[in-house]
Subunit: 630 residues, 2 copies
């Protein structure tokens, strides 16, 4: 990626320093004004970083405010999202938020200037406010810049010092250094005070620097209120080619309002009106400094997304035994023909079969190692840059370890694809630590989520392909073992659909399964047929959205007799999804038997564990018989 000669701004002259100082004062005044008007917010956490952001905004950020979607724009992510008064005050100074909006809508119902930033605002990449997430996401953004777009934009992240206690920050710095992300700079506002007292390291700048350097980033320790030092550090950060920079800025919380400077007890508190008035007057009163930001560098992204590339999915022969995880690997590899598709692995690519993508598109395969929070955060960052990122690992770790990142991806309304393999007791000998048994409940409850659980290779391949074009967070649960291919190559699997097997007008009961239990339901239907009971089977491959119409019709046609079998704990899973759907459809009569995992499983052969959990064919058949006899 080219670095144009204008990369480094001319040395800061005295006059410019004065105007930056005036801007910093305005950012402070505005931070106080908007939070005091709102009656809540985090002014003191904004004041400490005002000088840092004033210099960044004036001299280093390269951004076209009128065209926030421009791929060449720098990124600015407030990892300390609670400093939203400062961020919004910067937007005012940049001319994209009016004074009236800032002062009168901040934190109000229906307003876009929310308590913590979200992408409702066009200049915000991702929602922050859960600490330790902005930097990991920025790693994904910067990965795209360096390896995919090959554009010279820079990613700037404002971190708090408290959030450096989150392990996710260290996962992020580790990966940033590993991938030589010279295009990433974290500015840490070390203001010594957390929400509830001093931080662990307070102003031990050397301790922070040692940690940062040990993780492979460059540490620059500065006085965060000295404009010259700030400017120099930001310049050096941008010109470092192959190493992320962490600017450790020693600051004073509440800086600019002497009576609360460096005082505990002022976190997350708006100044009372009288105090605010006095403070604003002492700062010189409101002003209307307008900043002209430097334009982004020119350049064209090296990759142009093309959703219209014809992708030929692999096919399989009905009856062949294929693991759905293998089908995922084959399908996502076929999707490599689309230049925007990227795969992220949690160091299990040989088991999840994600590794097959590396063979066909090594430049779009990123090894994140055993760091699932960073795995999902990187996918979010790539989504910010317009890529279609699939992150995969074992379902137990992929959903539960980064669950807060998945939750926040929902708040951001970004588009990410998660594929969790090795789900449920079906995994067998490795035992319960490796068995996802709560992933469906957790993922269903995430805003914007789609939850899929196919039972065979062709349905998996089609759903993986559909995920590439599905907005929000899509999650596909895959199975470890190999089971027969059920569907032919022309079968379609729309999201929100289902497949009904063996329906007849006089069915007495319906058996609902997905993934591994679909095979058990099919076997149970055969057993029931032998004893003269007519059962249809519903393949509920799409758990969210769910096929309400088919479920309602099924319920009506079987006189409400339904068995649901799932390789998941009994709470919040497939059975719950069916009950919620039938309740929403106001189905008059229902006798539902829910077969699910109810005790802690151990190790063993998959078939023994399915039997022990009471979710295998014979249990399904028995439950169906009970319903029919009842």
């Amino acid at each position: 990626m080219s670095k144009d000669p204008e990369m480094r701004p001319a040395p800061m002259q005295a006059e410019e320093a004065d105007s930056i100082r005036a801007l910093a004062t305005q950012l402070r005044v505005d931070s106080i004004r908007c939070s005091t008007n709102a009656g809540s917010g985090h002014p003191t956490s904004s004041l400490s970083a005002a000088d840092l952001m004033a210099v960044l905004l004036t001299r280093h950020l390269r951004y076209d405010w009128e065209h926030p979607a421009l791929p060449n724009n720098d990124h600015l992510i407030f990892s300390k999202g609670h400093a939203s008064p400062l961020l919004y005050s910067m937007y005012r100074a940049a001319g994209v938020v009016e004074e009236d909006e800032l002062l009168n809508t901040y934190r109000q119902f229906g307003a876009r200037l929310q308590g913590h930033p979200t992408p409702v605002l066009p200049w915000v990449d991702v929602a922050t406010g859960s600490l330790g997430q902005g930097l990991p996401v920025a790693v994904g953004v910067s990965l795209a810049g360096r390896y995919l777009d090959k554009l010279p934009f820079h990613t700037w992240v404002l971190c708090g010092d408290s959030e450096l206690a989150e392990g996710s920050i260290w996962e992020a710095l580790d990966k940033a250094a590993y991938y030589k992300l010279g295009n990433l700079t974290a500015v840490v506002d070390v203001n010594r005070l957390g929400q509830d007292g001093p931080t662990e390291l307070q102003w031990d700048m050397d301790a922070y620097a040692r940690r940062v350097e040990a993780f492979g980033a460059r540490a620059l320790v500065i006085d965060g209120h000295d404009l010259g030092q700030i400017d120099d550090a930001l310049s050096r950060a941008r010109s470092e080619p192959d190493r992320p920079t962490v600017i450790l800025a020693k600051t004073i919380k509440g800086k600019g309002v002497p009576e609360i400077e460096d005082q505990n007890g002022w976190h997350g508190k708006a100044l009372p009106a009288d105090m605010a008035e006095k403070a604003i007057a002492a700062l010189g009163g409101p002003s209307s400094v307008h900043v002209t930001t430097r334009p982004p560098e020119s350049g064209t992204p090296a990759i142009t997304p093309d959703a219209h590339v014809a992708v030929t999915l692999p096919d399989w022969k009905v009856g062949d035994k294929v693991a759905t995880r293998a089908a995922f690997g084959a399908a996502v590899s076929a999707l490599a023909d689309r230049p925007e598709v990227v795969v992220l692995d949690g160091e299990v690519g040989n088991s999840t079969h994600a590794g097959e993508f590396k063979e066909v598109a090594p430049g779009r395969y990123f090894e994140i190692f055993i760091a699932e929070q960073q795995l999902v955060a990187a996918a979010i960052g790539l989504s910010v840059r317009g890529y279609v990122a699939f992150a995969s690992s074992f379902a137990a770790f992929l959903v539960s370890r980064p669950f807060d990142f998945i939750r926040m991806a929902g708040v951001s309304e970004v588009n990410i694809r998660l594929v969790g393999t090795h789900a449920g007791v079906e995994i067998g000998q490795d035992g319960p630590s490796q068995m996802a048994l709560e992933d469906i409940a957790a993922m269903r409850a995430v805003h914007s989520s789609t939850v899929l659980y196919p039972s065979d290779a062709p349905s998996t391949a089609q759903l993986v392909s559909a995920m590439a074009d599905t907005p929000g967070i899509s999650y596909l649960r895959a199975t470890r073992g190999a089971y027969p291919v059920i569907y032919g190559p022309d079968e379609q699997f729309p999201l929100g659909g289902s497949k009904v097997h063996g329906a007849s007008a006089d069915d007495q009961v319906a058996l609902i399964g997905a993934g591994i239990t679909l095979h058990e339901c099919l076997a149970a239907a055969e057993q029931l047929a032998q004893s003269g009971i007519k059962a249809r089977v519903v393949d509920l491959y799409s758990i969210k959205p769910i096929d309400v119409d088919t479920l309602r019709r099924t319920c009506l046609e079987t006189d409400g007799r339904i068995v649901v079998a799932e390789d998941h704990y009994a709470q919040g899973g497939i059975g719950s999804a069916v009950l919620e759907a039938l309740a929403s459809a106001n189905t008059p009569k229902l006798h539902l038997a829910l077969l699910a995992v109810r005790e802690l499983p151990g190790s063993g052969e998959p078939k023994d564990l399915l039997n022990a959990a009471g979710i295998s064919a014979r249990h399904i058949a028995a439950a169906a018989r009970d319903l029919v006899m009842d």
Copy 2:
């Protein structure tokens, strides 16, 4: 805590070194034998650490194998749980597992020697197998040793190198150093190879050492196959008073079987029978070395749990407005009279009110800062030591950030108490990043969980008190705002119960709520009464276990007309719990309206957000009217 003169073993003589070498060989042979017999497992990850564990077991671990519950015993936690063949082979050498059990039951259905260790075995403290968790839990164990028990036991943790990519490891080392845990030693088996290729840092021992030292622990770099170096490092580790030690042992994966030593592609694979036979023969064949472990030091724990201490809970006046989070703070402070009660804070103790405990029992209050994984892990470690630990933070972060730790706590079947405050849209202005809206779904699906959501101060206090005596993982969801006290001081709130308000024989509809929505349901019932509709209200403070009997009776008595209102997303929450309960009770007829959060909320006044989500009194009343008119 006293350190007895026998703390440091006598220098290792040549003869002893020979017997340790023989033990290490046996551990290798046994690791190969059991995994080959099972047809799966991780022999190569066991072989690399065999020398380390042979020296530890023979000369440093102080443990009474016949009395694993002895409080003076050292702890040995395999954070790399996949090295279970090695751990179980150590148990055989210690004489507590027979050769037959090891060879013929490992990974078999119903066996206690599972694929990854769980506390089904009396010598295992916690389940491992999700990487990066053993060390954080050990921090909790060691906190207890240093600050509560004041016993000289030592906690030894075997870590893998791959798991050092997990941020949770760095949260753990950070806290271990902060709390000066000289009684904690991590032995890292740096065998260079992960599951899917080389690790990030491979054998860059200096890089590991820099990170460890930067985080405040002592790093000792050794050759992990040199018995003398191992012995020296373990001696030094135990005698370091105020700093955790990390022994960085350079090892060779597969060590002892030349054809697979340091070879990629052998992770998690049992040797085929012919290879195993050859390897075992080359190692000298099976043996039966028996180790006599040094006994634990003497001493009495400084704290003796006493569940019979009379605790006087605070009381409140009906009608007073009190936040349930404030009631939690008051109740848990009252519980401080029980010497085994400990409180852990995620640097928000002033908001959660957990901080009040610090005033009454500062020695049993641990500040974990913004590191929720470590927060929960520390609670797990304290549970291992018999303490009743309450961990609290905002619900959004407490449940979702450490969800994998909570899941694994379920696998461990330990007893921990989680209190998440500031749940749902009710929190208002801070916006969606701070709103737990998926916590109930996630927590319900965890094995052994109890999920509570009280609506007023007295019920909160009683439930907090009940949590102290509740096995498994109990979770209480608390509200930010202050709402009227509903219940008098003598009201009882058993787990699995509910409270029915205003029931009469001719009720037309039931309104079910919990927490904030209970107040909305009560208001809705009044509105309905004014329009002549008789509605009863059910306070479902216990979401899991749930009051099936009352729900069934409610359903029968209202002709199936039920409105559920919840400040949670519509999937897997209270509505689902009610539907699951009614399905299990086979209730014949049900018309259930589920009012829940269905769109991404923003910032605003709580009442505006409750309205916007459609879960406030007027929506509940309207839904009830619709059901009644239907």
